[in-house]
């Protein structure tokens, strides 16, 4: 068996039986997505999101959405774990689409409704808003698949492969790590202040004033933690100077990765040509 961490070395899967923690959820090391290397996943996520935004044809958008939903099923993530996220995304997009409709002035053959502020809803408004909803939903779901099946550590490997400066990749990783520490501190502070009778009721100004009672100790705590982290990394040879560094994780390229990368790029090129050269897939 090989290491599920994209290592190029044959190694029994560490922590066999454990589930891997992605950005958002836990997923099985046996998930087919775990076999795709993180750079391929990143490229697929970017191209599919871009394609979703380029195409403005309700059928094409629907087909793309169906493909992404199939991908979601393929990811072996139980619907229960992310249904709240999907419901939240769908709800937010619906609100955005409706808001868009209320303020749009898209001419059409049938005017269904005239708003007092000069906007109106036609059959083309409904058409446009549906496309708007579908394209954002498709892009969100593509991102969701990526976040559900990729670990922070894998993303950093992909970024390092793209030859992004090491310091940037490291800062990105460290920021993710410090964010979780910061959140813990934030909740601890809120609870500590509430325990002394503070509540967050009142006007926005009053709430902001109360926030300063959280911000000051939060900054004190986080600066101290950053200082400690700084010593901990220096004690393990970290330097900003240009030294030769290696990486324990390597990107593993399989045939499937080349296939998916080619497919993604071909799809993007075809969609761009179809829309901007031949004028297909545009909103009419």
């Amino acid at each position: 068996m090989s290491c599920p961490s994209c290592g190029d070395r044959s190694k029994p899967p560490p922590g066999t039986g454990i589930r891997l923690r992605s950005f958002l959820f836990y997923f099985s090391p046996d998930s087919p997505y775990q076999k795709i290397n993180p750079l391929t996943k990143l490229v697929m996520m970017v191209t599919i999101s871009t394609v979703a935004f380029i195409i403005e044809n309700i059928y094409a958008n629907l087909i793309l959405l169906l493909i992404i939903c199939a991908g979601l099923a393929f990811a072996h993530i139980s619907f229960g774990s992310f249904k709240k996220v999907i419901i939240a995304i769908s709800g937010l997009l619906l609100i955005a689409a409706l808001t868009h409709a209320f303020f749009s002035q898209i001419p059409g053959d049938i005017v269904y409704f005239n708003f007092p502020w000069g906007s109106y809803i036609t059959e083309r408004t409904i058409h446009y808003v549906t496309i708007f909803y579908l394209k954002f939903l498709a892009a969100s779901l593509a991102n969701l698949i990526f976040l559900c099946t990729t670990r922070e550590t894998d993303l950093i490997v992909a970024l390092r492969f793209l030859h992004l400066p090491y310091i940037l990749c490291f800062m990105f990783a460290l920021t993710l790590r410090l964010m979780s520490i910061l959140l813990d501190d934030w909740w601890a502070l809120i609870q500590a202040q509430r325990a002394r009778g503070m509540d967050f009721k009142g006007s926005i100004i009053e709430r902001l004033k109360k926030l300063q009672q959280i911000i000051f100790p939060l900054l004190t705590s986080i600066f101290k933690k950053i200082e400690d982290t700084n010593y901990a990394i220096l004690a393990r040879g970290f330097t900003l100077s240009d030294v030769q560094r290696t990486s324990i994780r390597q990107l593993r390229w399989r045939f499937f990765d080349y296939f998916l990368l080619t497919l993604s790029i071909v799809l993007l090129v075809v969609v761009i040509i179809a829309k901007y050269y031949y004028g297909y897939l545009s909103f009419r």
Partner: protein, 579 residues
């Protein structure tokens, strides 16, 4: 054979930037290759600063003024690059959280190796070795959020070990951990000592563990090295150490007390095994008479206020991530009780206590505080009944002066200015901080800041005070001072609930213990009865105080299994020896 000095500290003086006082004052220290040296001393003695100087962070990264020299393997650290120093000197810090900089165990252990440009094969070899030493094989792909404090600290140790340093500096590696985490880390250090012969500097407040790990102990006090000898010699000066905030192992203290009263004239034991052997030798297989046994004086229920101040009925709580933290807890606490909540990290102690002030609301079941159901009460309402002192005092402090800080809570309760002033004065007098009322809270050390945090809660005049981990990261002297303050408040009629991992202090102060395990109430009993149940304690991953363990080990010769303090054991021994 020529003895090689791995570390030579010569007349080292260090003063942090913008500070007038020297933190280290003329330290001289020599450590031989393969030697393990323990450093102990009260908080603020300069222990961490000395560790920083040995690993080169002083003077390379930390601004300040330095006099004297630190030589590692014969080279002055001042003339070396920091990277070259840390290749030979690994340092493990106190806080496992801030040391963990990567998003998986594998990346964390590889971090140092990557920085030094090791090849992939070499990295895998070293990582495998280091994780095996600390017992963390199989955890390579775990996320930091999935690890306990003890596991994180072991990973941090592995990440240092992977660099295979000649010298290892461990700066209070277990002070933020529960009993299980501590045991795991100490066992990893022991394994390392046995297998690799690495030179080690270990800073530790827990002298009972320290004696098993080191060849020599030094005492730092006020920035000076004031005592240095083998553990057997070092801990002989029990009173001298106690005056300087260092508590000798309980077994040593026992024999010291007995020798003071001329009942014993033998070499003071420093380990559990030595102490047990000596007692058996002295008593020479005589069984001690049951008449010498302690008479338990349980708190009579009828002396307690009949109406409970806290009533918890079938309490269930599940966190939003799905973790069920409490499962059907039933608990009644009466006015004036002094209770300790015990259990390993994640057992549900803090979750339960947070219900008392309404920070968490029951998922199922009921929590009634002084007649008020917390479900229908706001935190503000409950704050006048329950004072909650958080583990980190800095989470509670944000005002410019101590007076303002302590007055913040009463002001939130809508009290008049004169009433606030009266309460602030009373609270500050209780914690002996009134003369400093105009100073900034952050101009004091952690112990004083904790007292300020207690005062800020006292000023709201709650009937119940919950103190969460008051002794974590503190030396024994300061921990005892905090517990004495709680004793004093308890005598004034306050109900005290303390959440702690320090069972020695629990045995000396708390009257009742509530042990939680995996969200369930495992045991609720008077302290003496609870500590006698070694099987249950083991199940909850708790280890009774050394003196209780000693009496339990001597059960076959008639010792009771519920001795709680050194004084009690001393009385038993006195009776046995004078018969």
């Amino acid at each position: 054979m020529k003895v090689i000095e791995e570390i030579v500290v010569k007349d080292l003086w260090w003063r942090y930037k913008d500070r007038r006082k020297w933190t280290l004052k003329g330290i001289n220290l020599e450590v031989k290759k393969g030697e393990s040296v323990g450093i102990t001393g009260p908080s603020g003695a300069g222990k961490t600063t000395l560790c920083m100087a040995i690993c080169g962070l002083i003077p390379h990264e930390i601004p300040g003024e330095m006099k004297g020299t630190v030589k590692v393997s014969g080279t002055d650290t001042g003339s070396m690059e920091l990277r070259d120093i840390v290749r030979n000197v690994g340092i493990l810090f106190q806080d496992p959280e801030t040391q963990f900089v990567s998003m998986s165990v594998l990346d964390e252990v590889a971090f140092g190796l990557e920085n030094f440009g090791y090849s992939s094969d070499e990295m895998w070899r070293r990582i495998e070795w280091a994780l095996k030493i600390v017992g963390m094989e199989g955890y390579e792909e775990k996320h930091p959020l999935e690890l306990s404090g003890g596991e994180k600290q072991r990973v941090a140790l592995a990440s240092i070990l992977a660099l295979q340093p000649r010298i290892l500096v461990l700066d209070e590696p277990t002070s933020n951990l529960d009993a299980v985490g501590r045991e795991d880390v100490f066992s990893a250090i022991n394994t390392l000592k046995e297998r690799s012969g690495t030179t080690m500097i270990i800073v530790e407040h827990d002298t009972e563990e320290l004696v098993n790990l080191v060849d020599r102990v030094i005492l730092l006090y006020g920035g000076e090295l004031i005592s240095e000898s083998a553990p057997e010699e070092f801990f002989r000066e029990v009173d001298f150490l106690k005056e300087r905030g260092v508590w000798a192992p309980q077994v040593t203290e026992l024999y010291y007390k007995l020798s003071q009263s001329c009942l014993l004239r033998c070499k003071l034991p420093i380990t559990f095994d030595m102490a047990q052997r000596i007692i058996r030798d002295i008593l020479n297989d005589r069984k001690i008479s049951p008449s010498w046994l302690l008479s338990e004086k349980p708190v009579a229920r009828d002396t307690l206020d009949v109406r409970p101040v806290i009533a918890v009925k079938n309490l269930w709580y599940t966190y939003p991530d799905g973790t069920t933290a409490l499962q059907g807890i039933d608990l009644v606490i009466h006015k004036g009780e002094y209770i300790a909540f015990l259990g390993r990290n994640g057992s549900g102690k803090t979750t339960l206590a947070k219900h008392f002030i309404g920070l968490l609301k029951p998922f199922n079941g009921q929590v009634v505080i002084d007649g008020i159901d917390v479900r229908g009460a706001s935190v503000k309402e409950l704050a006048s009944k329950v004072g909650y002192v958080f583990q980190n005092p800095d989470h509670q402090l944000f005002c410019e002066s101590i007076e303002e800080e302590v007055g913040y809570g009463p002001k939130n309760l809508g009290l008049s200015k004169s009433e606030v002033k009266k309460r602030v004065k009373k609270a500050l007098e209780t914690v002996d901080m009134f003369p400093y009322r105009e100073e900034h809270p952050f101009s004091f050390g952690k112990a004083e800041r904790q007292r300020i945090a207690v005062a800020s809660v006292l000023a709201m005049e709650p009937r119940i005070i919950v103190v969460d981990e008051p002794t974590t990261g503190q030396d024994m002297g300061l921990s005892k001072a905090m517990m004495s303050l709680l004793d004093c408040l308890n005598k004034k009629g306050k109900t005290i609930i303390v959440i702690t991992h320090n069972l020695r202090l629990v045995a000396e102060h708390a009257k009742r213990v509530v042990i939680l395990h995996e969200g369930k109430l495992l045991l609720d009993a008077p302290t003496r009865r609870a500590f006698a149940q070694s099987e249950l304690l083991r199940k909850a991953h708790l280890r009774p105080p050394q003196i209780t363990q000693l009496s339990q080990a001597l059960r076959d010769i008639g010792f009771p299994s519920d001795v709680l303090t050194v004084d009690e054991m001393c009385n038993l021994m006195r009776a046995a020896l004078s018969s």
